[in-house]
Amino acid sequence: MSSALMSRLLDIAERLVPTTDTMVGAGSVPEAEKFIKRALESRPDLGDGLEDAVGECTDQVIDAAVRGESIDSQAFEQVATLVIGAYYMNPVARRQIGYPGQLALEYDPMEYVTWVDEGLLDQVMSRGPRFREVTQ
């Protein structure tokens, strides 16, 4: 990817998700370029015609998106998916929103006994059978 194309992608990313006092934006997050390249490795299809797609994402289009206007453009869809997909693969961006990734969690499969005993299902049970009678 040319440096000009990468630069424009980072610019679009930053305007879609800008840096604020407390949050680092999508174009200036550390290793932003690395994660855009990684996103392209995961989704090579997003690289197809990318230069043209970026070209279609003019400042006017980005401004309209930021204003909350609906953007009906495959090019915008492609570019936004790439830069935001890359952003939320980045551990820095994930930490900002308290997202650790999809983890393996432990739980007790018998936990239901406790809340059944506490009466959580009592209201449902108190109404009695609810199934519709059917003549076989």
Binding site: R43, M89, L120, P129
Partner: protein
């Protein structure tokens, strides 16, 4: 053609998904020689991305449920230009069970009697009571976690495994329903809450619909085909069926298929079983037209491909003050509600919908739930993420879709798959009943979320990219003039041809279909075993 590549078998099964797995395992266990043709491959479980940081990106392409987006070599395109809902599926060993969410409800007794009860759809030739023993057996075979005693069912279902966790979101919404006096119950899921039959339990990773890396979610590549193969079944992958062949008496003799090198083969069998889903099955029957069956094999009723049903799908999401961590959890559903499932004439529509409370996905899914052009961009993006991400709980609402002959699968006149075979074309229009039903249920689900304490509620109504549940295109019935297969899933027209996927559904119900697909397939397999000597087969 390369001629008979194999010896004839007792049974040829086309399709290695949910129903194909069930019949393959049962028939192999009974000692029949079984061959399965599957156009896809064994899933590469190492390629599942749920534990990787690119999970959400790949979920939108390589693991998309839409074959027209996924575009794997084994996928065939579907022309859905004239369809209000896009059909979704997965081709490979395990079929749709590789990417389904594992939710495993049974149909309710009333679902089999919609004509008698509500004057809509048609009654099934089988009843809940007849199917119950098969539901029980498939629950054990797939490994279902759940809690018996749901008052919406007439029997206390004894699930083989304890239920999966209720979770913070499940508890919050359950408490809201208790305030409203509405029904809720733990959703049964074919996802293990404990180790079972050599499989590991669910770890709540929340990525079930792009392949379960733990193997906790039941898929027939794990639960059925290995045992079938141990019992002698032969599974041929990369085998794309061209047509089902028949003899002069109109009995099926086997299937002609292509391998990836383009070579044509024939697999002969005494009994042919179609298990290719409600798009693939009618496609093959229509592709098998001949002089004896000019409108397609097994289609003297004219109903092959007709009455396609796809559940309507809408999502209502409540956003809460505290983080619920709802990017995690079985996906699958934690709780369900049948409160408004049955017909109430005062509502102005027939039948109803089931609700299932599901996780909401990761950050990319939050930012781009539908289209990038509708997301929150600019400085407000961070505010939206911090206020909503991980704080949402979603009711997934599946509405019953009534059968209409104007909704159908046909062969596209020009679109083909990579082998040059006609692609299916789907013509499907949402009925007014489905639309009215959906709006009523969405409104009630908003009330549910408000009662649960949501500070904001959003609704995505009648999502078009949602045709996971494909049903009805070769319906079951007693009358050969108005149905394709009989009560044993056997073709009225071709005595040794069985259809065991959801094509045979008479009505759609409002519940996820895989449990019923499996139960009906097992029932058909039992029937083949017990009545084999009476089934007319080619000389």
């Amino acid at each position: 053609m390369s001629g008979n590549k194999y010896q004839n078998t007792d049974v040829l099964i086309i399709g290695a998904g949910a129903s194909g797995g069930v019949v393959a395992r049962r028939l192999s266990q009974a000692g029949l020689s079984v061959r399965i043709l599957e156009q896809g491959q064994w899933p590469d479980r190492g390629a599942f991305r749920g534990a990787e940081d690119d999970w959400e990106l790949t979920y939108r392409k390589q693991w998309s449920a839409d074959p027209c987006i996924r575009q794997r070599p084994e996928d065939y395109p579907i022309n859905s230009d004239d369809a209000d809902i896009t059909p979704l599926m997965f081709n490979g060993v395990g079929g749709g069970t590789i990417i389904y969410n594992g939710t495993w409800p049974r149909m309710l007794p009333s679902d089999f009697r919609t004509r008698s009860l509500d004057g809509v759809g048609d009654d099934w030739p089988v009843t809940y009571d007849e199917l119950k023993p098969f539901y029980d057996r498939t629950d054990a075979d797939f490994g279902v976690s759940g809690l018996g005693g749901d008052p919406f069912f007439p029997d206390d279902i004894d699930y083989p495994l304890p239920p999966l966790p209720l979770g913070k979101a499940g508890r919050k919404v359950a408490e809201g329903h208790n305030q409203l006096g509405w029904h809720w119950w733990l959703e049964p899921n074919a996802i293990l809450s404990r180790a079972y039959n050599g499989r590991r339990p669910c770890v709540q990773r929340g990525t079930c619909t792009s392949g379960c890396g733990e193997g906790a979610k039941a898929s027939t590549d794990l639960t059925h085909f290995p045992q079938a193969i141990d019992d002698g079944a032969e599974l041929v992958t990369g085998a794309r069926v061209v047509r089902i062949e028949h003899d002069a008496k109109g009995l099926a003799t086997g299937a002609t298929y292509l391998t990836s090198d383009g070579a044509e083969h024939f697999a002969g069998a005494s009994i042919v079983i179609l298990a290719a889903n409600a798009i693939g099955t009618p496609r093959l029957l229509l592709m098998s037209a001949s002089n004896a069956f000019p409108d397609g094999l097994a289609n003297r009723s004219g109903l092959v491909g007709k009455r396609l049903m796809m559940h309507t799908f809408s999502v209502v999401t409540g956003y809460f003050e505290e983080s619920l961590g709802t990017w995690q959890g079985h996906f699958g559903a934690s709780i369900t509600s049948y409160e408004f499932y049955e017909t109430d004439p005062k509502r102005g529509f027939a039948r109803g919908a089931k609700w299932a409370l599901s996780p909401v996905g990761g950050p990319l899914g939050h930012v781009l739930p539908q289209r990038a052009g509708q997301a929150v961009w600019g400085p407000a993006h961070h505010v939206d993420m911090l206020e909503r991400f991980g704080r949402g709980a979603s009711w997934a609402i599946f509405g019953e879709d009534l059968p209409e002959e104007t909704n159908f699968v046909s062969l596209d006149p020009s679109l083909t798959d990579s082998s040059g075979l006609p692609a299916p074309k789907v013509t499907y229009t949402l009925a007014k009943n489905s639309i009215d039903l959906t709006h009523f249920h969405v409104d009630r689900a908003v009330e549910s979320m408000e009662a649960a304490g949501a500070r904001a509620v959003t609704s995505d109504v009648l999502l078009p990219h949602s045709g996971w549940h494909l049903m009805g295109t070769a319906r079951m019935g007693d009358d050969p003039k108005t149905s394709v297969v009989n009560r044993w899933s056997q073709s009225h027209d071709v005595a040794n041809l069985f259809i065991v996927d959801a094509s045979q559904f008479v009505t759609s119900s409002g519940v996820n279909p895989t449990s019923t697909i499996a139960a009906l397939a097992l029932r058909a397999a039992d029937h083949i075993v017990s009545s084999r000597s009476e089934i007319q087969v080619p000389a």
